[in-house]
Symmetry: C2
Subunit: 508 residues, 2 copies
């Protein structure tokens, strides 16, 4: 549970803060003696009035949950019950020497941390794998479970264990299984990437790749330039690393170049985070000219580029190559994942960096977890080398194109005329903008009650607003579920837009 | 390659610095334009005279590898060849807009980073998995490949894929596979751990557990208290996180309590890192009374404890339980690994923390890589639940005890009388102290030339000295290799000790 304030909710912020703190204390997550941030610090971090926090703390103190002393700070109070438990003689008859809790540093105390995420936004919720709910999954950019090639992966496991089972149980190399690194490098070279000037590291999904980059390039904080909107998981990660985010609007024609120029004139970002193809959350790809214009400007400003090519395997021959293929100044860090076109449970991604960054990156990977699961790497190698990934990706592309077309047609039929998505390249998601003032939180909640999950726009907003938009994924549900779900969403939209719910809320 | 100075080498430090920088430039790891640390900063960080660094830079400048300008700093010079390549028109006939390299922040520049590891020490080298050398492996604390139960792991994979293959390919829960977490918690409860007041997270080997703890508790730096000597991988990690290390001597009777009291009076460590059982590198376990004395003092000083129970599954019923079983104040963070008693290639470990730390820990795990490889977690669950791990650990313990006894007897026969190991509990390693002034680096090098790898004492030294000691692992070689290797080591020791090589070096 994160201390996440919902500014679109009708519940006052004070009540939200009280409820969140109360829940943590009553669940035992915050034990007696836990020190809270000062009201000033918490107010700063949450971006609310200090008075709001003082009132919240006062209310919790009156309820007996918190206690404070001048110059001491505010603490979780030991309840009668908890104090009994804590002072109870242990089995051996001894009494604890001290009832004071151990000193965990305040900078990483629970509240500070929860808040650090709340200032950013929590990562998208990952449902438990055994959560076999009948809900229609339009919220998450993952493949429907039937799209995972489970039998073929099992065959690959059998093969690699038969060929080199014992080897796969030893410590893998930190950079990754050498034949897999070479196979991936060969594939990148075919896309025009100058692999000789770069080095590739296998990581636990591209999330680890992004975290390693952030640890490498944001060790002293700084600004990150992103598209607006951009991938929520990356924005959360950058915020967690205390980065300032500078969102530059991006649409079907590419980045708003005037806004980009203004941003580059005003700041020196540590890097620009870009998803040039089938972007998350918009589904849009940058046109060729827009790629050139973007790279030119970032090159002139000497801003490193982090290119997230999350659906690289879906790229058609007639589409532009990745930015990395045009990287003339060793400026682009390039990452990919096999969570989307193979299976997320294997936790496999890769990161290609200019040679000067390889040694520090490898040191960080070793520090982080020594290396990536070895059998999974060997399985991926077998699936790449045998050509399976290529044919599977072609199948997926056909599926996703068909789904995209079905979603487009259903939206035409069922959504109000004022609500049209940006026509996405075939990927996993599209982005639907509503008229200004629309109540997205209410739409998401109403859809949820009808069994349909969609992703509100707020987590994708670099600036931290809650834009009138939502992301609709067409990859995670079954194909048959798409049209009926969109019809129901359309009904909700008609009701909401006609009902004028985006006007001022009623006074009572 | 790390910029690691070897103070025990006869090569002057200046030459070592020159060679290390030259190698990076010539290999292309540092491209033209890479900015080096100032001579003052590099000297500070390496702990050498500034003059030494200035002379090194001068020499490299004279060779045309570096260039510098007043007020600009020192840079890798573009060689003629490289400059040609860089200015060459690209395929499309365009010229690059700027030849200036992208700005990677200096704090994470290659030299600063390499140095950050060099100030600490590099992680133990992990040989490539396919490195089928005939060397005798007495350096690494891993199991011999024949000890990995490869067939049984394959059977477990078949079972879990048959039962729930599709589920294992979806996103796992960030905290870990629920049945595995429950199984591990049940086992800890049987050891007397109060699991209800704690939460367990599955991690990619205990290295990730340690890194998450360090990110959690060392976010603002601080001091870490460790045994002296202690596990090199942990010391490196803490140094990487900019921690100051305070080593407290520990021997067969436990920690030196007077030294511990002095340290606790002088500093407030962020946490104490302790391996109470079959410690790395000494092989010693803390006696029961020494555990109580240690915990009492750390409790009174309110110092959190990080307990690394790397060989937990080898614990016999008549041995004391882990410190965590006595944790009355939610003070102990407790971690374990299946790299030693199962197989390191699966990258499986776990971390049990007091409830207030669970939420920030989980947030960090999500940020780091979302979750741990799912099939590996299911395999471990099957191997635990079926009882296989228990019987396998019993077999390993018998093997390791037999090896320990063989090593003890061989040392008695072959080593000089002045060189005796601390009698270790049966684990994977023992620690061998040599007479003061012995040349360990030379011994390690001579052994290496004879095909025997041993681990010098320096990386295990919290204070950063090179103590006259080495670690001998008896788990990584085959049993038959142990006695002959120890006989050869004994001959080297006899020659070195009799030859007086630990006296002053010759003047010419």
């Amino acid at each position: 549970m994160d201390l996440l304030l919902d500014r679109t909710s009708s519940t006052p912020l004070r009540q939200q803060i009280v409820a969140a703190i109360r829940a943590r204390i009553e669940s035992g997550e915050w034990s007696p003696g836990t020190r809270l941030l000062s009201s000033r610090d918490l107010a700063d971090r949450l971006g609310v009035n200090r008075t709001t926090v003082v009132q919240s703390y006062d209310e919790l103190t009156a309820s007996g949950l918190l206690e404070s002393g001048v110059g001491r700070g505010t603490f979780v109070r030991a309840s009668g019950e908890r104090r009994d438990e804590r002072d109870r003689p242990t089995a051996s008859g001894e009494r604890p020497i001290a009832t004071a809790p151990p000193r965990f540093p305040s900078a990483s105390g629970p509240l500070a941390w929860a808040d650090r995420l709340a200032r950013g936004r929590p990562l998208p919720r990952l449902p438990a794998a055994d959560d076999a709910t009948p809900r229609v999954a339009l919220a998450r950019a993952v493949g429907h479970p039937t799209l995972y090639p489970v039998e073929r992966i099992k065959t690959a496991l059998d093969r690699v264990f038969a060929a080199r089972g014992r080897e796969l149980l030893a410590y893998p190399s930190p950079a990754g299984y050498a034949p897999l690194r070479e196979e991936l490098a060969r594939r990148l070279a075919r896309q025009g990437v100058d692999v000789a000037r770069n080095e590739l590291v296998i990581v636990n999904g591209s999330q680890q790749g992004l975290d390693l980059i952030a640890r490498l390039l944001l060790s002293e904080g700084g600004t990150v330039l992103t598209a607006q909107p951009s991938f929520s998981g990356a924005l959360d990660l950058f915020r967690w690393h205390r980065a300032q985010l500078q969102g530059v609007p991006a649409g079907p024609a590419g980045f708003d170049l005037a806004a980009l120029d203004r941003t580059l004139a005003a700041t020196q970002p540590r890097f620009a985070y870009v998803i040039p193809d089938r972007a998350n959350p918009t589904g849009l790809s940058l046109p060729a000219g827009a790629r050139e214009a973007l790279l030119e400007r970032l090159q002139a400003a000497r801003v490193p580029v982090v290119e997230d090519d999350w659906l690289a395997e879906l790229r058609r021959d007639d589409e532009p190559p990745p930015l990395k293929a045009r990287d003339r100044d060793d400026q682009v860090l390039y990452l990919g994942t096999f969570s989307k076109v193979l299976a997320p449970g294997l936790r496999l991604g890769w990161l290609l960096v200019p040679k000067p960054l390889f040694e520090p990156l490898l040191a960080l990977k070793k520090i982080s977890d020594l290396a990536t699961n070895f059998p999974a790497q060997a399985v991926l190698h077998e699936l790449l080398q045998s050509g399976f990934i290529d044919s599977h990706a072609r199948d997926l592309r056909v599926q996703f194109e068909r789904r995209r077309d079905a979603v487009d047609a259903a939206i035409d039929r069922h959504f109000p005329a004022a609500v049209r998505p940006l026509r996405p390249h075939s990927g996993m998601v599209c982005w639907i903008e509503l008229p200004a003032g629309s109540d997205v939180a209410r739409l998401v909640e109403e859809a949820r009650r009808e069994g349909i999950d969609i992703a509100p726009g707020a987590p994708f907003d670099a600036i931290g607003r809650a834009p009138p938009a939502f992301r609709l994924s067409y990859s995670a549900a079954s194909e048959a579920e798409l049209e009926p779900a969109i019809a129901r969403l359309g009904a909700l939209l008609h009701r909401q837009l006609l009902g004028g719910s985006h006007a001022a809320p009623p006074l009572v």
